[in-house]
Every structure is written in structure tokens, then in C-alpha cells.
Symmetry: none
Subunit: 199 residues, 4 copies
DNA sequence: TCCTAATCGAGACGGTACGTCGCGTCTTTGT
DNA sequence: ACAAAGACGCGACGTACCGTCTCGATTAGGA
């Protein structure tokens, strides 16, 4: 069953994502318009919509590609590994904080992240894809925690997912809600608090 | 200093917020249109825009009013108090999860919350207001924690704000990002994990 | 050079002008609204604005089409030809006098004509178009006069354009300024006065 | 029957007309807004509307005041007197041609005049007033012509009103419709043509 | 001197239209 | 089939201006 008709121009995807990325980072989610993307990429809107059925889909594709490269290290020092991971997450968020703003400034909140979440709520498939991205990333971190727990470096009753949510959640909460900064120092404080407990 | 000119019709605010709330909850953020709100409230669009310069401003006003009634109890049992508080926060989020969906269904993600955060990023003043709402609410919880710490019911090195972020952040993370449910059971597990620590 | 992209739906122009004409004649210039026109023509406002960038442009198009059918006859009897022409011009003006009024009535002044002139002053291109319409029509009459002059039926020092302005101007002056009627009888009197002179 | 209540502040009329004139001449009819006038005159809109029930009424008042000073001379030389009068009319029109344009430029058409005519068509009383202004002015010119005719300086069958319409009409036609200039030279040519006739 | 009435400043209000923007679809011609 | 080009439908947005209204505060004349 070979595909009939003219094959898709593979170069198009690249040009579109390039243009879309540029727009998203420079002018924010609102500044990302399909008309503009098509024009900059030198393609027809039809072509664009054949691949991404919605602006939201396109935007997700852009951001997903941007954050594809986070990795998790396992040195055996769980405190340090988690802190490193949190710092990477924070870095990704901070990158979004700058999107759409004049250089030198940075928003308190990362609007683009919120828009993406909103997009996920608008379209089931965007939501599924988005959750998948996070699930994949968190699965790695989860295993890291599990290993530490199973080797006795963490309490045996630790629930890895909950611990992760405490950590990542705090970062997102600051970036999306309170607008407070997230940096290495905060990552350290956060991990310490989570590991040591409050009692 | 008496107010000059014709005073604002206070009834208008009520009617507008009523209509806007109805639309927001029934049809979601996208279904909230200024034209429709004005018509339902029986006022001119001009009047609406005089008070809320943007649809975003209006939407925030609506949600802020909805969540105005959360209270925090202080029974002396910090674990229970925090769990109760988390449950209230969760309830608010779950309410947003239903917004704009056919009855009986509920979205995985609370799109409206995300839209509101996006709105905060679009307009500085909306952001300021939004952060203010959260700050006010968190301040109460913060004091609760401080009291417990100062009375020796929590470790003396506990940072109340960070603890709070671990808790609230986790809820928001689930509701916005992973789409997992947040209920009483989760609230208990969460508080337990935060208080006991992982080490 | 074949035209690219989806061609314009030629039927749209017709439907729009139809609706606009109806509105303009029935309810006057103020009663011509782009929203209403679009709805009656069964098209989107965007489509309308793509062709006529302004209500003013649309209105001119309507009136230009209405007056497109005036012709000038050349019988050799210059007095009669001019009178006939003046009567046609008067008829066009009188038609505008009725626009926007309850049937049976007619305004003293032709408001719509004035609005059109005002529109011409608001947008350069409307003005250019409008002047073009008049120029085209007057050119014919001019040649009529020139012929009569060159054949000795008028004084050799007659300036055709000035003569025309005396005639048409008087009609417009009555219709726009003084509100007096313009009819066949006046046309005759006017032409006589212009041809015979006052001395 | 002495007037009860607080008497009207006579100074207000002046300040309003001042401001309105300024706006009308500087920014044209469209730039004359009641809000702006009220603010500049330092009065309330209520006060303004108590005296001029409509923007159109106000605008007419402004223009009427501007052209109040035309006089007609009677030297016995009818050709010269008419030319002088036409020049004054032309001057008034040319003044309107500049209204609302950046200095140094002048519109082809006198939009404000057209707007005023349109206003006259919108409100009967404005129309009546406007026609009155013209009637008063033309009556003087009419008498001038009558005198010349009765004294044998013009043909006995001359209809003064028609002659006047030929002259003034031509000016208005050029200014409103064709956009051609009106100056002393044209006035001379025009009067000559009208007096000498075409036959 | 108080009362009544009209005016004034300020600004909210209703209404109506305008023109714009962005998304996603559709219709062409050509490859 | 896919691509480029561009018209199209839809729906909302925010703005502008008009003329009306409701306040409180003045400023007169008349009882």
C-alpha cells in the first residue's frame, strides 16, 4: 500500500516550526498567528492545516520540540539528583517566562505555559499529547526515586509520584500563580523541605 | 470629598457578574463573550467596558468572587487543618474542571484556570490582582503554619511558604498538568508526605 | 498571467449592491449600515470590507451604479439637447431627494448627495472616483457644446466647461442649498438664461 | 414674567463657539465632537445640549458666525459688483476647503460644507436656518441685479434669481463636485459668460 | 430668610455602528 | 494527492460618538 499522489514536502515541517518558534518566543502565544506563520514559512495555510489541525496543535509541537532535551542524571545522591532535575524544569519554565516580551524584561508569570494548558483543555488530543510529554519525563524521575527508596536511601513508604508532584508542583505554582522566581537556590530549599519533612 | 457626577449603578455590577458567571461556568472561557454578557445583563457594552476594560478583567472578577468564601480553620491539629484547607482548594479547582462542559462530564484539566493565568500574563493589572487574591489566601495558611511551628508542633526550621507551595503546588500540578484527580484522599496523602518527609 | 487563488464570487457584488441600494434609498445614508448590508446579502462582513474598505466606498458604488445610464442626445438643436441633459441630471438629483423618506414625501435637500460629497472629502480615493464619474459624464456634454460652437451655433468665445458649470451648478445649488425644486420648467428657463445672456 | 431660577451664563456661548470653531477648522467636521468641545470649553455636556440640541446645530452656528460678514457693494458697474460678490463667496468656500487638513494643504472638496448640507437634510430646523442664511445673503444680491435690470443695465427679461443661481451654483459645483479651484480669475470668467450669454 | 426653580459641572449610561482580527474552510490553478 | 494563493464565513473584540440621565452644588428671584 504505497501512498498515492504527490508526497509531502518534508522540508515544510521544518520551515513552519522554525517560523512558529520564532513568533512564539518573540511575541508570545497571542503573537503566534497561523496567517503569519504561513507567510513567513512561505507556504499556504492549507499546507499548514494539513499537518497541524489547529493553532493549538502547532503551538504544542513548537514547545514540545523546545523541551525535548532534558535528561535526568542518577549519581546515587538523591538530593542532588532531584535538585538538578528541578533546576532543569525551572530553566524550561523561565525560558517561557521571557516569551513575547521585550528583551531584558521577563514576565512574572509564564503566560505561554498557561495558554498551552488551556489549549489542552480545548482539544482532547492536545491534552493527551501534552500529558504524554509530562508523563514520559516524570516516569524517569519516578524511577530515580523508586531506586533510591528501594535501596533504602529514602523512607520505604515514600510514594514517588506524590513526592514528584510536591516538587514540580511547587515550581509550577510559583511560575504560574504567585509569580515568584524559581532558581537553583529555590530548588535546593524545596528539595530539602520535601526530603526532611515538616514534623 | 464627595463623589462628583452621576454615581455608578451598583446594581449593574451584580447583574453583569451574575450573567458572566453563568456563561463562564456553563460554556467555559471561550463561551464568555462581552456582547452576550452585556445583553443578558441588560446593559450597554460601553457600561461594561467602563468597569472591566477587558474580557480578561471581567473573567477574573467572576472567578475571584466565586472563591471568596474559603476559610481556614485552626483546630490545633495541623495535619487536619492543612488537609481541610487543601480539600477546599481542591474543591475550587474541581469546580473549574466542570466549567463549560455538558453536565455529568468533567474535564481532566481545568482550562478556565489556565485561561485566567494566561490573562494575568496578558495584562499587568490582571496579574497583580490575581496574585493579590492568592497572596491574601495564602497569608492565612501561612500564619497557621507559623503558629504550629512556633508552638513546637512542626520542626523549627520549617519555611511556611515553601511548605504551602509543596501542598498547593501539587494540587495545581495535577489539575493543570497531569490531569489526575484531586480529592480528600489525595489531600490526606499529600499532607502526610509533606509533613513526614521522604528521608 | 492567470489569476491565483480562489477567484472572487462575482455574485457577491451583485447581492451586496442590491441590498445596499435598497437600504440607501429606503432609509437614507444613515440607514445604510455595513452590518445590515452584510446580513441581507448573506455574506460575512469581512467579505464586504475586502471589496469596499469603508461604508463610504460602498455608498459611492451604489450611487454610481444608479446614475450610470444617463445618455446625451445630439439633435443639432443645442438648446433642446442641453435642456434634455439638464432634465436628466435633475431627475437623478430628485431621486436622491426621496431617499430615506416615507413614501409620498420628499426632502427639500438631497441629503444623500451631500453625504457622498462629504465622503469624498473624507477619503481621497472616494473623491477621485467620484470626480471621475462626474468628469466622464461632463466630458460628453462638453463635446456637445464644442460641436455646437465649432459649427457656429454658439458664440465662438464660449467656454464649454464654464457653460456646463453654470447649468449643472444651478441645479445642484437649488437641490443642495436653497431647496428649490428642479424640474423641466426650470431646466428650460435655466438654459434660456445661459444661452441668451443677461446683457 | 421675569425669568426664574439661575440665569444662563452668557460667557458659556462664547467659550463653546470658540472651542467648536477651533476644532471644526482644525480637524474638520468629523473632528468636532461634543465631548471634546465641552471639555475644551470647560463646561458640562448638559450645558452644551441645552443650547444646541445637536452636534449639527452647533456646527451650523459655528459656520454661520464665520460667514456673517460678507457685504455686497453697489457701484453701478454690475459686472464688477457681481464679480466682487462671487469672489467673496469663493473666499468663504475656500476657507472651508482648508478645514481639517494639515497646514499648507487644502482639500479639493470642501467637506465641511457638504456635511452641513447633510445636517440640514437630517434636521428640518437646521435646514430652515441654513436656507435662511443663504436667502438673506442672496436677497441682497438679488436686489442688486433687479436694480441694474430696472435701470436698463441688464436685459429686461433677466430673472435675478436664476442669474444668481448660475453664478453661485457654478462656484459650489466646482468646490463640491469637480474639485476645481475657484479664484478671482474664475469669478471674472464666470460673470462674463453669464452676462454675455452663449448665443 | 427660606423656598423654589433653573443652571452648571461631572460623569455614568444606553444605543448603535464601525472597522479589525484571527481561525479554520473552501475553491481555484498548477505540480 | 499535495502545494500555493487567496477568497470566504464566522464570531468576537474593543472603540467612538451621540444624546440622555442623575447626582450635588450654585445662583438667582419671590414669599
Amino acid at each position: 500500500m504505497s501512498p498515492r499522489g504527490r508526497p509531502r514536502d518534508t522540508e515544510v515541517d521544518e520551515r513552519v516550526l522554525q517560523a512558529a518558534t520564532e513568533l512564539l518566543l518573540r511575541h508570545g502565544y497571542g503573537g503566534l498567528s497561523t496567517d503569519e506563520v504561513a507567510e513567513r514559512a512561505g507556504i499556504a495555510k492549507t499546507t499548514l492545516y494539513r499537518r497541524w489541525p489547529t493553532k493549538d496543535h502547532l503551538a504544542l509541537a513548537v514547545v514540545a520540540r523546545l523541551q525535548d532535551h532534558d535528561e535526568i542524571t542518577d549519581t546515587g545522591d538523591i538530593r542532588r539528583d532531584l535538585t538538578d532535575y528541578m533546576e532543569k524544569v525551572a530553566a524550561g519554565l523561565n525560558r517561557m517566562r521571557v516569551a513575547g516580551l521585550p528583551p531584558g524584561q521577563e514576565s512574572r508569570s509564564a503566560g505561554t505555559v498557561a495558554e498551552l494548558v488551556a489549549a489542552a483543555a480545548r482539544h482532547d488530543d492536545v491534552g493527551a499529547l501534552e500529558r504524554d510529554v509530562y508523563a514520559r519525563r516524570n516516569a524517569l524521575a519516578c524511577r530515580l526515586i523508586e531506586r533510591a527508596r528501594d535501596e533504602g536511601r529514602l523512607r520505604p513508604d515514600v510514594d514517588p509520584m506524590t513526592l514528584l508532584e510536591q516538587l514540580a508542583g511547587a515550581l509550577y505554582y510559583r511560575v504560574l500563580i504567585t509569580g515568584h522566581p524559581v532558581d537553583r537556590a529555590y530548588a535546593e530549599r524545596l528539595v530539602a523541605a520535601a526530603l526532611d519533612g515538616a514534623l
